[in-house]
Every structure is written in C-alpha cells, then in structure tokens.
C-alpha cells in the first residue's frame, strides 16, 4: 500500500472538488504545507472553505490561494497579516468565520476523534456565542461547538516514514496534528521521508493511520518576524537557561 507520491500535484490527484472543505496545518507561516498550497493553486479548484488558523500573508502560504480567488470562506482565528484577505472580506467577496484559536484546534481534533460537539467556556458572552446552544454544567455556562469534518487535510511535518508515521520540529507542530486528524483524506508533505524503522515508535507525533498520501520536497520556510538580540561578545552561543 504505497503512500508516497512523486509530487504535490500527483498526491492531490483525484481528491479535489469545487466547494470542498479543506483543513490546513500551520501557524502563521510556520509549519504550513507550502507545496500542497502551491499545487492547489495550480489545480484551479475553487469555492473552497479553508479551516486554517491564519490566512497566510500576501503572496505566500494561503495568501496565494486568496489572490486567485479560489477560497470562498475561511475558518480562522487571526487574519491580520494579509491585505488581500482584508480587501476581499470587506468587499464581501470572501466569507469569514472567526473561531477562537483553541476552539478551532479543538473542533479539528474533535472531528478527527468522532466527536460531533463539545462544550467550552471560550467565547461565552461574546459574538462568538451568538446562535450557539448554551448549557450549564455545575452552575457555569458553556457553549456548544461542533467538530470539523474536513473533506481533505493538508499538513506539513518534518520527517515521516513510508507508512506515514510523522514527527514535527519545535513549534512547527501547531495545528498540523489536529488538521490531519479531521480530514477524511490527509495529504502530508515532509522535508524528509525516512525508511520504516528509523523513527523511534515512542517519538511519533502523528501515527501513519492519519496520513493517506505523502510527499517529500524542498521548503522555503519563510520567517514572518525576524527578531534577534545582540550577541554579547560576538561568539556563537546557544540560549541556555540560568
């Protein structure tokens, strides 16, 4: 059962349909499925609903898919870094469903875990709660949020073996595991495909059962805010805890 495909476009072949719901991993530009987004642009698939914490920036990440107007609706928590997004949203071309970040992550995980709804305190008393079921537990009010069941998940990991067992690196993990879980089909891009048996089974972050197709490729990994501190003495030194 081969999961490894030759390119992002090949890996998406047969999976795309106008109007579909796609869940994407990534936070800001960190850990986003760059190659699969490019392949979506090339495919021309349209009227997409995309569940992703952010909407990329102008010209990179999901921003590319907005420029081509392939996205009809975003489900996100923060879209502040994207002028084209703002233009389309304010002109009514693009629908936007704001989700608190933790609610969005939990909705993805819930969908992946067969949980159609869960209660949370997040957003009670705000616009987020409008139209949602309210319920009391132990005298406190919670709102019902629904699981996200995506037609397709696109995610990015650091390394995976041929069976799709994947590991992530540092904060590039973020939304990738919950996004992968909630996809009926999940396509993953990685920096390196390694032989089966070379990842410690105790270190797998996302078991291969969640990954249906897999590609390896080169990633730009653009940095959104390059912040540094002066090097005290000019020599290389790692940040260490006191």
């Amino acid at each position: 059962m081969k999961k490894v495909y030759g390119s992002a476009s090949e890996a998406l072949d047969g999976l795309l349909q106008d109007g579909m719901l796609i869940a994407s991993g990534g936070f800001g530009l960190c850990g986003i499925p760059e190659l699969l987004i490019d392949a979506l642009v090339k495919s021309g698939v349209k009227d997409l609903t995309v569940a992703s914490n952010n909407a990329g920036v102008d010209g990179f990440g999901l921003g590319k898919l907005l420029e081509t107007k392939q996205v009809a609706k975003m489900m996100s928590s923060y879209v502040g870094e994207n002028a084209e997004f703002m233009r389309q949203y304010l002109s009514g071309e693009l629908e936007l469903e704001f989700n608190p970040q933790g609610t969005l992550a939990e909705r993805m995980r819930a969908g992946g875990c067969g949980i159609p709804g869960f209660y949370t305190k997040t957003g009670v008393g705000t616009v987020i709660a409008e139209g949602k079921e309210h319920k009391e537990f132990n005298g406190e009010t919670y709102i019902l949020e629904e699981g996200i069941f995506a037609d397709l998940a696109i995610v990015k990991a650091w390394k995976a073996d041929e069976t799709g067992n994947a590991i992530f690196r540092k904060t590039a993990r973020n939304f990738n595991p919950p996004a992968a879980m909630c996809g009926k089909v999940c396509v993953m891009e990685v920096e390196e495909i390694v032989p089966k048996g070379s990842l410690d089974p105790d270190h797998i972050h996302l078991p291969g059962i969640y990954v249906h197709r897999l590609i390896q490729g080169e990633h730009e990994k653009r940095i959104e805010q390059r912040t540094t501190r002066p090097r005290p003495d000019g020599t290389a030194r790692k940040a260490e805890e006191a």
Binding site: F27, G28, L29, C30, G31, N53, S76, S77, Y78, V79, G80, E81, M86, Y89, L90, F98, P100, Q101, G102, T103, A105, E106, R109, T120, K121, T122, G123, V124, G125, T126, V127, I128, F168, R169, K170, T171, A172, R173, N174, F175, N176, P177, P178, H205, K221, R222, I223, E224, Q225, R226, T227, T228, R229, R231, A236, R237, K238, A239, E240, E241
Partner: protein
C-alpha cells in the same frame, strides 16, 4: 509621575509567583519577562510551547521556532513542544496560572475588549478568548487612557467583548485596580499619582 511601559511591566511581574506557568500577550506584557528576576516562571507560547526563551542571536533564527506573535525565539532546558489542541487544552483546562494581556477597554464588571474595532480592524481574536476564559488569573496591562485622553477603564465596554467578567486585576500607567463586587478597588497608585488623579481618569465606578 505615571509609570512608563517598563515600570508597568515591572509592576505586572510582581504578580507572578515562583513555579507559575504564565502566558504573556503581545506589547507591554511581553516586557514582563524582563522583570521576573530569580523567580521560577515558565512562559507558555500558545502556538505550542512551554518554556519560551529570549530572541535568538543574529544568524540563529529558526523558522520552526516562533512565538504567538510570529517572532523568532529560542528554547530553554525546560522547554516542551506540543500541538495546538493540547496547548489550548491546558489553557482552557486552567493549567496556566495567569495571563498578562493588553486591552482596548476594560469594564468595572471585568469585561474585556481587546480584539476588534468594528468596521476598522478585523484581525481576529487569535487565542485571546481562550486565554481569558481559561487561565487562573487575568491581569490586564495598558495605558489608563487612549490617545484622545478618554478613559479605557469603563462602566461598560463599547467594543465587542473578548470575555465577560474575566479580568481580575488592571495595571495601568496610573496604578493598580482590582475587579471586586460593585466596581473597581484601588490597590495602589503610581508614584506621585494620587487616588483622586486616578479616580478622575477613570470612568468606571471605584468602590
């Protein structure tokens, strides 16, 4: 004299106790990290990290290692990474002892508005709604008034809320206020700021 940004951050740092896991928002709250001194504080970055370190040295930036403000950062010996569902699980589950956040408006009932100005600013709430709903203690750090001189400490918020009745303590350039039954209580004032000065600059009920 009212406190400056660094003095406000230093005052906010006094709120943090040894052993606490803390989330610091963007802006002045970020500066709080500079004033924790010897206290054993672990900073959470809600994009999936506990034990956030300082900015990297030039040339050591790692695109896979950023904070919730998308800035490059570093790790520490105590650091752990996890996914976003787990990260907000610990926030929603009350495991984070305190969040220090900026605000556009705070009301005397603890309402907080810090994510949206209708028709003007539509960036999104990010993780702010989860934080104020979930963490043990919400400390707001902000200027007492806006650039027009109007109080940001109000009887009722006018902007869309981030959370209802969620704020515990407000630290502004003029002093420190607690949200209590019936309104706000003055905890202290900045050096040279009298209680009357603070009352005069505050729209909210002070009890």
């Amino acid at each position: 004299m009212p406190w400056d940004r660094n003095q406000m951050a230093a005052r906010a740092a006094e709120e943090l106790e040894d052993g606490m896991y803390v989330n610091l928002g963007i802006g002045i709250p970020t500066l709080v990290a500079n004033y924790v001194g010897d206290k054993d504080i672990t900073l959470q970055s809600e994009n999936g990290m506990l034990g956030m370190g300082p900015f990297p040295f030039e040339g050591e930036e790692d695109p896979d290692l950023i904070n919730a403000g998308k800035q490059t950062i570093t790790e520490l010996h105590r650091t752990s990474y996890f996914d976003s569902a787990t990260s907000f699980g610990m926030i929603r589950g009350g495991k984070i002892a305190a969040a220090v956040l900026g605000a556009m408006e705070v009301a005397e009932n603890g309402d907080l508005a810090n994510w949206m100005i209708p028709g003007k600013l539509v960036k999104g709430m990010g993780g702010a709604m989860d934080l104020v709903a979930g963490v043990g203690r919400v400390i707001v750090v902000m200027d007492h008034t806006n650039k027009h001189g109007d109080s940001k400490v109000l009887k009722a918020c006018t902007l869309p809320l981030t959370g209802k009745g969620v704020v515990d303590r407000i630290i502004t350039n003029l002093g420190v206020l607690d949200v209590v039954e019936g309104g706000l209580k003055i905890v202290e004032t900045a050096d040279g700021v009298s209680e009357d000065d603070l009352r005069a600059a505050t729209e909210a009920t002070i009890v």
